[in-house]
């Protein structure tokens, strides 16, 4: 039995039944990482020694018949989650030597649940990007075609899960950064309702858009992970005190009688024919399962990317003001004569191309004379995008759309055309604007020049409806004839 093939649920049951130990499982995962990650580059840091110690501890707990569903489960964390005593770089040169003195709230929760952390995964610098090419460590490859991107910014996490280098992983999603790589790599990725999971200890990109969520092998696995990390946190005042339901309770309820909305704007402009076909086939499956399909409209869709690329860089430029090479991070090579010189050097040397670009957009739109025309306008458009979703959810229970208009592109292809890369987020950004949850579920494949490339569907629900998303996603995963979920990439290691 290849232990790395198991889902979280299967691994958890196997551990409880003593079919194998957490140490066995952890060793199998490191063997797998050593075999394939030199070709894929999902991890930027492996913490094998600590992981094996944690696995031994988990085995002791399991031996007593104690522990949670996650005890002894090997997982990966995107490199923007603070991990106590373990280097956390956000894949930026400016933080190349940063070792956080505390764990992020979600990391603490996972550790309390008994997980084994295998290492830190690659991301676009400070999570800004849709391809993981903007990492100071270099890009992550797509496990289906190593010459293509894994998507991003949580490309390392998506690649690790899709290619069996972790049972699950955590990522962050500000404009699509969990869902897009999940779709490109062929795993499940959940963007939660804004505020459902604490952001404390996770480096901020755009604070009013940022969310944290799982990337997993199945919908059920994603539900199990969310169960462990959701809820209010005193250290994050944007987490409402709304009770966390039992996410597995209704997961097998099916979709009979549910109204599924198909927003027409997501099927019109710029979408690749093959991608549309995969999504429409999935919609047909839902109809066969007893759901009612309703065509609806989200007229503000085409403005979301523009609103986002004003508001998010504005928040980014404010959040990244703290990175000055003084309290943490690297010292510039040329320190200069005075403090101002030092700032210029620390940030000029420390930030990569995409961060410089976005920080400057943010600085520009917030600067005197431009604030009303850009920033305030974008925030008003955001109000209208929210209204779109509120109106839609009066008519339907959930919506289904493509995750991205295109499948994974070739590494380097869009590096000199930032705007083209931004437009790949056209179907994921509106969801962050509205703060609603959405999940990417593998649904099929399109033909690439070197074989099949995965395509996901995006299931969108009203705020705090994660339970319903799991129910809808699970119905497809269990019943669909397109068994995209269990097909694994066959790259040569």
């Amino acid at each position: 039995m290849d232990l790395t093939n198991l889902t979280l649920k299967e691994a958890s049951e196997g551990l409880k039944a003593k079919k194998f130990s957490s140490v066995d499982l952890t060793k199998a995962y490191f063997e797998r990482i050593k075999k394939v990650d030199k070709n894929l580059h999902a991890y930027v840091l492996e913490t094998e020694e600590q992981a094996l110690k944690d696995a031994e501890k988990a085995d002791e707990i399991l031996a007593k018949g104690e522990g949670s569903a996650l005890t002894g489960i090997p997982c990966a964390l995107k490199d923007n989650f603070n991990t106590k005593g373990v280097r956390t770089t956000c894949c930026s040169k400016i933080l190349e030597n940063f070792v956080p003195p505390y764990d992020a709230t979600v990391v603490k929760k996972l550790k309390e649940a008994g997980v084994v952390v295998l290492g830190k995964t690659n991301t676009d610098e400070f999570t800004c990007g849709g391809s993981t090419e903007h990492s100071c460590f270099g890009p992550t490859s797509n496990p289906w075609d190593v010459f293509r991107v894994a998507g991003g910014s949580s490309g390392g996490s998506a690649c690790a899960v899709a290619s069996n280098m972790a049972v699950f992983a955590l990522g962050t999603d500000t404009g699509g950064s969990i869902r897009e790589p999940a779709s490109f790599c062929g795993c499940v990725g959940l963007k939660v309702t804004y505020g459902r999971v604490s952001r404390s200890g996770v480096t901020s990109f755009a604070s009013s858009w940022d969310t944290i969520g799982p990337l997993a092998k199945t919908v059920e696995d994603a539900a199990m992970v969310l169960q462990a990390i959701a809820g209010h946190d005193d250290l994050d005042s944007t987490t409402p005190n709304i009770p966390v339901p039992d996410y597995l309770k209704n997961i097998d309820k099916g979709v009979k009688g549910l109204k599924i909305g198909i927003p027409k704007e997501y099927f019109e402009e710029g979408i690749e024919v093959g991608v549309r076909e995969v999504v429409m086939n999935a919609v047909k499956e839902y109809e066969k399962m007893g759901a009612e399909i309703v065509e609806i409209s989200l007229p503000m869709t085409k403005y979301a990317v523009a609103a986002y690329y004003i508001a998010a860089p504005a928040e980014l430029s404010a959040n990244l003001a703290r990175f000055d090479g003084i309290r943490y991070g690297r010292k510039p090579q040329n320190e200069g004569e005075d403090l101002l010189d030092y700032y210029f050097a620390a940030r000029g040397e420390g930030f990569g191309d995409e961060i410089k670009r976005r920080v400057m957009i943010g600085t520009y739109v917030l600067s005197a004379g431009y604030y009303d025309a850009y920033y305030k306008k974008a925030q008003k458009v955001r109000t209208l995008i929210i209204k779109d979703f509120e109106d839609a959810f009066k008519k339907v229970d959930v919506m289904i759309t493509p995750v991205a208009p295109i499948p994974a592109w070739k590494i380097g292809e869009k590096m000199n055309d930032p705007l083209a890369m931004y437009l790949a987020d056209a179907f994921t950004i509106p969801i962050n604007a509205a703060g609603v949850p959405a999940m990417s579920v593998p649904a099929g494949f399109v033909k690439g020049d070197k074989g099949d490339l995965p395509v996901g569907i995006q299931i969108i629900g009203p705020q705090f409806s994660e339970e319903l998303l799991f129910q809808v996603g699970n119905a497809y995963e269990k019943n669909s004839k397109v068994k995209a979920q269990n097909v694994k990439p066959q790259f040569k290691a």
Partner: protein
Amino acid sequence: MLSEEEVKHIAKLARIRLTDAEIKKYSTQLTDILEYVKILEEVDTKNFEPTSQVTGLKDVTREDVVVSNSATGEDLLKCSTLPVQNNQIKVKPVIKQ
């Protein structure tokens, strides 16, 4: 069109040193992006308020007690690569000597 002079000014506000090649490149790329976002001018937003918080939370308060992530001041000072004196990080002078 964002001129090279304007890019230099923004970079100064953002405290980022750019090379000449970068200034040239960003002048074109930032212009493209700012041109693209003009699409928002089509939207009539006259009667709508701006949104900065999406779940409706307002004036979040809690008991006035310290809630900490367990990192001490000493721990935090250790994150700096610069010299520390009297619990303070020593930086370059603000005014040139």
